[in-house]
Symmetry: C3
Subunit: 263 residues, 3 copies
């Protein structure tokens, strides 16, 4: 039996997410449905892309991931169906898949539109229920991805900020603040040399191996569980303490010798 | 295997919802349990009724829906068990089922009280765990609804505001604000003529087929995914922009010829 | 098939919880995973302990409970695996299990460290995904607890405030405020005599059997669904009305004759 996951910006209290679950359970009875989150800020495509990047490949092959963060519902944007290293993904084709596509070894994609699987009756405002949920359920039942629509050669990509490596220094930025106030950057951890320092605002932070190497309340940098440089405060909230937000610029000095660009 | 859904106003952090899930899993091992929401504002019966109206019939026949929004716990209010078009519902008999009952083609109801299924040991404050959860689990295992208690001919109804149609005009109100700031009204979308306009405060809104027909930031009206007139702002929050809240009065002009009352 | 439950302070929007679910589903395909909550205040060990105390024993034997509230991640704190009256628990060994351990009739514990089950590759910051989730999944598949590591004779205990019984009076405190604003105390309900009164600030509250015995808006005390004295306001929020917070001192007079200490 496949497993289905759901990531949306719907909140839960209006019952919209449950309507989607009901549609899925009607077509694929008994399928386990895991909530990822329904608390993505409304319409926040990069937040959804970062979240997806953290779990899509942790699930086993055959899992069907559904993402509905869809500020363009009711416009001409396409519906994306994709197979990434054995996991299936259904989402609006608006860039939420960008990081997952980058990190997959192999992927194929289609434009979901076969009315045998998405149904001819569609509201103008709730494609999550009327298009995406049925598509997901049919995939969970074993319908091949290619049945859902024609190939989609170039899924939409979100223009994430680039990290620049130049002159022995990396210039990047904070791409996400997590619930603990940790600031995730776009600088790869494997760029760091032994004496690397992270500059953010007026602060200059040492890079430690783990929280346990810092004193309570001390600001530090770490390579986080996704392999990225992260700014943190032991037993505290770095975003607040260091006045960092998404988009804050950072510089990292003391890099290892290596390629001059990347992520 | 049946599927169970849960809608409460308990929040999750205190562990009360998990206590209910544990009771259900003890009586009906392996049953899939879908969270709808635990974020209904405390005691807000109409919000729960609206949420329920959006998902109850999307689930397959045999699903057991549990709603625990129960400001009257510990008073004499009854416990409702119902069968609506093949789906089962267990809830306090306080009006949360009003809209689902209205929309079902057929329903039957009982007063849940058979101690073989709800257990003689009941706390005074947590019927969700001690009465509703066991009843739900037994229904999920296949116990017939009629075993749970005697018929309940007139389940409690919540007095939702009426929409009045008179003189070519509909007078209704905003019944819910969703997470995106969209304002759902109680005016049926199929009342609208081609040139209908929605009046709210000083604003006069055109009715469009979809968000894609409005400019970014434009206020408009739509027929939403439940068939009701909804006030929205493309890429924005209508409630904030137009200063609308639950209970705000609206008028719709330009109706189709039709019955002079309804919903 | 076992069932798994998850309690964390991660929030959901970053995708960390879903990464854990994916790891579990990869090792134990098809296992039902119930969310308890991901809204524990960051690092709040006593809140997690209270939540766990409310549901761990409601689930059937064989259930595997996972708690990840882990302010000490990356330090030397151990990983706890425990069997309590037939239910399994995996958590950081930091006191979150204190109340469950107290209430279990029988328990055994191990220090989770066998690399056959937790994997040799571990990030420094996300043991939930890299250590706890694999351990939970292997337990759900039927690996015996004793395989996960050596016995742990004295799991860490959180120093919950004591309740003192002296001179016919109990002196305790508020240990939790729930979502409804009810204030849970650490005074056992079975200490109360017929004429017991609860003193909190300047208020003196009668003890009633149920909400239905109070007028709307009236402050009262009850024995709650966990057997503890709780301060509440019918149709209102006691914490706000009576200006109570976690840690507020209370006294109860009018006790039954009985042991001079306890909980």
């Amino acid at each position: 039996m496949s497993r289905v996951t759901l990531l949306t910006d719907f909140g839960t209290r209006d019952g919209y997410v449950a309507a989607m679950k009901g549609v899925i359970a009607s077509i694929a009875p008994g399928v386990p449905i895991d909530d990822v989150s329904h608390d993505i800020p409304p319409g926040d495509i990069p937040s959804a892309a970062w979240a997806l990047s953290r779990y899509w490949s942790r699930y086993p092959a055959g899992t069907v991931h559904l993402v509905v963060v869809d500020p363009g519902v009711g416009t001409e944007r396409r519906a994306l169906g994709a197979l990434l290293d054995g996991r299936l993904l259904v989402a609006p084709d608006n860039g939420v898949a960008t990081l997952a596509l980058e990190r997959a070894s192999r992927w194929t994609a289609v434009s979901v539109q076969n009315e045998n699987y998405v149904g001819p009756d569609r509201s103008a405002t709730f494609h999550g229920r009327d298009i995406f949920a049925p598509a997901v359920a049919h995939l969970a039942r074993g319908v091949p991805l290619g049945e859902l629509g024609p190939p989609l050669a170039e899924p939409a990509r979100y223009a994430f900020p680039a990290v620049i490596r130049q002159g022995g220094e990396a210039r990047g930025e904070v791409v996400a603040i997590d619930r603990f106030g940790n600031a995730v950057t776009n600088v790869p951890g494997d760029w760091l040399g032994r004496e690397a320092r992270v500059h953010v605002g007026r602060a200059v932070l040492e890079v430690r191996g783990t929280y346990g190497e810092a004193a309570s309340g001390e600001a530090l940098a770490l390579v986080n569980s996704d392999g990225l440089v992260e700014i943190t405060v032991r037993d505290g909230a770095a975003a607040e303490r260091l006045r960092i937000r998404r988009g804050s610029r950072i510089r990292v000095r003391g890099l290892r010798r290596g390629p001059e660009n990347g992520l």
